[in-house]
Structure formats: C-alpha cells, structure tokens
C-alpha cells in the first residue's frame, strides 16, 4: 500500500511537471486532485472535508488582478446561491506572494473581511496545486462533480460573458453548468475562454 501511495505521489508530481511544461492540465472529464491548503482562518481545507457536497466551484483568484477584483462580488454570490445546494465555492490564491505581496495571507484576510467572503480563501503555498489543474490565470474556474471515482472536472473557464458589467451579462456559464449538474443534466458549455492575469511564479 505504501509503495502504491509513493507511486501515486510520484505520478502526480510527474504529471504536475509535464503539465507545467506543456501548459495543459485538466480537461473536462478528468479527475481533479484533492489538496490540503491553508485557509485565511488558519485551518487547513481539503475537498474531502465536504462530506455532503455534490461538487465544487474551484476558483483560482487573487487580490491583485483587476479581472479577479471585477468578479469578487459575483464569486461571493455564487457561493451564497450554490453552497447550500451542494456546490460550495473553494477559492485558491495561486500567486507567488514574494512576487505579489498584495496577495499574501494578511492581504487575503483583509480582503475577505472587507468583502465579506463566506467561502474558504486558500493559499496555494508552494504553488503545487494550480499547475495540476492547469490554471493559467486569475480568475479561472473549475467546476467539479463528486463521483464514485473522484471529483470529475465538468467545466473549465470564465464565470460569465461580461467582465465589465455584471448587469449586462447575457450568459452565466458557471450558473448554467451547476444548474445542469444539479438537475442531472449534461453541461452544455463545457469550456470558455476569458482574459485574466497570468499566475505569478
């Protein structure tokens, strides 16, 4: 069993390395890795902690990117709407805080407090998780559905189709995807593209 575990770790590390090299990461249909990352309240958070969840809205975001900031209220609204339905938002800050001090733990705590975030805001310390997912920018969303085999990636991309004006949004990609999963339907739009800030290494 130990050898198996070691092998898995090696494989995961290896795939993380290749991911970084070819810039790919997960596709829709892949099983997403769990993690154990520090939250702004000092606790460690894993997906496996959420026994009753049906899935997750994993959101790579940060304090310092104008696009991420433009979406802060909408990310909070997603959590308010879907956490109780079994799809909580799990936000992960992927930047190297030596490069972006505005994204350090203290700054994350302050931002979460001032904005009243109700979702966990985790820091990807050591930057091991985002490359496995293949996140390249903030904000970058991965919707996962809990299955017997693991957390399956169901959607990758943007929150909606208007970063400038929440009121002018025509298509709510993330809401549509989660609504479909809640109804047991197929997610129609599985991947979208949006501009974001490069994750700082």
């Amino acid at each position: 069993m130990k050898i198996l575990k070691l092998l898995t770790v090696m494989l995961v590390t290896l795939s993380a390395i290749t991911t970084k090299l070819n810039g790919q990461g997960y596709n829709v249909g892949d099983m997403a890795t769990d993690f154990n990352l520090e939250n702004i309240d000092g606790n460690m958070v894993s997906l496996s902690d959420y026994k009753d969840a049906k899935g997750f809205i994993v959101t790579f975001t940060c304090n310092t990117c104008p696009y991420a900031v433009a979406y802060e209220d909408r990310i909070e609204a997603l959590n308010k709407k879907y956490a109780s339905k079994g799809f909580p938002v799990i936000a992960i800050m992927p930047n190297n805080t030596d490069v972006m001090p505005g994204d350090n733990m203290k700054a994350m705590q302050e931002r979460a407090k001032s904005k009243g975030f109700t979702f966990p805001y985790l820091t990807d310390k050591g930057q091991k998780i985002y490359p496995q997912y293949g996140a390249t920018k903030t904000p970058h969303i991965y919707i996962l559905e809990k299955t017997i085999a693991g957390n399956e990636v169901k959607y990758i991309g943007a929150i909606d189709d208007n970063y400038q004006d929440a009121k002018a949004v025509k298509v709510k990609y993330v809401e549509n995807a989660v609504d479909a999963l809640l109804k047991g339907e197929v997610v129609k739009v599985k991947e979208t593209k949006a501009i974001g800030c490069t994750i700082k290494v």
């Binding site: 810039g23 990117c65 104008p66 433009a70 390249t136 920018k137 991309g157 943007a158 189709d161 208007n162 970063y163 400038q164 004006d165 002018a168 990609y173 979208t192 593209k193 949006a194 501009i195 974001g196 800030c197 490069t198 994750i199 700082k200």
Partner: protein, 178 residues
C-alpha cells in the same frame, strides 16, 4: 460623448443660476470627456474592428502584443518590444500594441502610460466583452492570460502565451525575416 459634456456644462450653469450664495464654480475641474477622448493617442476597437489589423497581407512582419497597464509582466517586456521595433523597422517590421485595459481606465491609466513612456508603436485598445468569442478566434491555443504575442507575415503565423526577453523576441522575429 459631446452631449455628455454639454449636459455637464448645462447642469453646472443651472447650478450657478439657482445658487444664492457666492459659491465659486470651477468648471475646469469637471473632466471634459470630449477633450479627453480627443487627446487619446490610441483607437478603440471591438474584435471585428481589430481583426483586419491581425490579418494584414502586406508582406511586412507584424508583431502584435496583447498587454494592459495593470499587467506587470506586460509592462516589463514592453521596452523590449519597442526596442526591437526600432531596430528592425527598416526591415519591414511593424509593432502593434493591443491594450486590454478596462474602458474606464483609458483616460486615467492607458493614455498617461503612453505619454509617460513615450510609446512609439501604434497602440489600440480592444473593448469587446465577448472574450469567449475573440480569444479562440485570435489563437485557438490562447488560454486568455496576458502577455500574449502574435508574430505574423502574410500566411505565416506564430502565437506565444509567454513573456519575452529582448533576445528571445529577436530570435523569434528572425524566423520571419528573410
């Protein structure tokens, strides 16, 4: 937009008329929207307006860099692009800087940046919220992170989602120069 300025002016004037105190009104502190727009050293396009600039068939080698004033790695590499443009412009190289700044920052961030850094290359701003349409149209492999760069000449085209050093940029450019 001119109408807005007129409206602002009208409101100001009406304030003055009804004002019973000796309040001094300083119209010069009201931003003159029309004037700001007239002072811009860049044009604003949606994707359909931008597309022809990304697909010229004039035999020149075009470097198109997608950037924004808020994007630190973009700002870092901009001087390399400007330097390469200066160095190779006699060889038919043309640089286009496509800003992805938010429209509400055009006059407060983008225009001041162009002035302060004395940018020589042509700058345009892309204002089109339907990113899911134009990102894959510009380059299928583009995830949407910036900086991103295209080098093309007629039908030959290469897309880069990465930061450049000046040397790296010259190396890539030389593949396009005869």
């Amino acid at each position: 937009m001119k109408n807005v300025a007129v409206l602002v002016l009208l409101i100001l004037m009406s304030c003055k008329d009804t004002s019973t105190t000796n309040e001094i009104i300083k119209p010069e502190i009201v931003p003159n929207v029309a004037q700001l727009e007239a002072d811009r050293q860049f044009e604003v396009y949606d994707y359909d307006g931008l597309a022809p600039l990304l697909n010229k068939t004039d035999g020149k080698v075009h470097i198109v860099n997608f950037w924004a004033t808020w994007c630190a790695p973009c700002i870092k590499e901009l001087p390399y692009f400007e330097a390469v443009n200066e160095k190779y412009k006699d060889k038919g190289v043309e640089l286009l800087l496509v800003s992805l700044d938010f429209p509400n920052k055009y006059d407060t961030a983008l225009q001041p940046f162009i002035e302060k850094n004395n940018l020589k290359a042509k700058v345009v701003a892309l204002d089109d919220v339907d990113q899911n349409r134009w990102i894959p149209a510009i380059a299928e492999e583009w995830s949407g992170a910036i900086p991103a760069t295209i080098i093309y000449s007629n039908d030959k085209r290469q897309f880069y989602e990465k930061s450049f050093t000046q040397q790296e940029l010259e190396t890539e450019l030389k593949q396009f120069l005869k």
